[in-house]
Symmetry: C2
Subunit: 171 residues, 2 copies
């Protein structure tokens, strides 16, 4: 059974929707995802650090369309690990555990990895929205499209735009 | 720079001392570590699950002798990652982060990995007290002596009894 490392933020969890919601709650201004194409997350969301360190940010993040259903199917054919950069924001650790247990009840604690750098992760496949995680990975890599990487050349990674696309490729 | 994965419980954190302390606080009975040789941790500590799920268990665990000083020296010569099985006990995630930040301030969030299974961890060296983590690891392995593994044949792993020994071997 092939092993696969799946990122959380920007791949399973819709952090853009969450940032936009928190920005609206705080300022009354409704930001548009289209205006963020090509910007880093820090450029798109000036209050990013404040928000990711807020209680509830990760626990209440909405799901990316299709993620739950497709990951459940993938998990029957691949050995799935959810590998998430989390140690930078200590509050996120418990919240990400709760979020995964709620939305992906078929993912066990054995399949969760909360790390900082992903450079010592060794699986056959990695799905991530950040080049910093994919670039030094040795296996097959899929770049999940998010506004911050939308204009970038995917280099040696295969770009995927949705979980429907991943389903067709992987299953 | 070679990479090295260092376990927490039973390698950096003295969980036996912590279990003995909590058992004493609860029952008034002082258990002896010598009587635990060859027993699994579950056999040695009948209230193990209750204790590891108690607030403070991981945050206030004492250090294994020499761990801090030797890891600080090792970290100058190796790329150190602290890789700890933590996702089984959600409360431990935040507490282990605090504990590492307090006792090992030179370890950054980039170097922390909190996981369930360690099977997708890929470093040159692994130091751990459990066969279940070392047995499928592909690099060089050191079995750190703890009462639960003290009578066991170390198989293809190199047994080490202290951080002083590890210092002599690795530096």
């Amino acid at each position: 059974m092939k092993t696969i490392a799946i990122d959380m933020d920007g791949v399973l969890a819709d952090v853009y929707a969450q940032f936009i919601e928190m920005h609206f709650a705080e300022t009354g201004e409704r930001l548009s995802q289209k205006d963020m194409i090509g910007l880093t997350e820090g450029e798109a969301f000036p209050h990013l650090l404040k928000h990711v360190n807020s209680k509830g940010f990760f626990e209440t993040a909405p799901l990316i369309t299709g993620a739950r259903k497709v990951v459940e199917e993938i998990a029957k054919v691949y050995k799935v690990f959810i590998v998430s950069a989390a140690t930078e924001f200590p509050l996120s650790l418990g919240e990400k555990h709760l979020w995964l247990s709620k939305h992906f009840p078929f993912i066990t604690w054995q399949q969760m990895v909360f790390c900082g750098s992903k450079e010592i992760i060794n699986t056959d496949i990695m799905i991530d929205d950040h080049f910093k995680n994919l670039d030094y990975f040795k296996g097959k890599t899929y770049l999940f499209t998010q506004p911050h990487n939308e204009n970038a050349n995917p280099k040696n990674h295969e770009r995927v735009n949705s979980w429907e696309e991943l389903k067709e490729i992987l299953l």
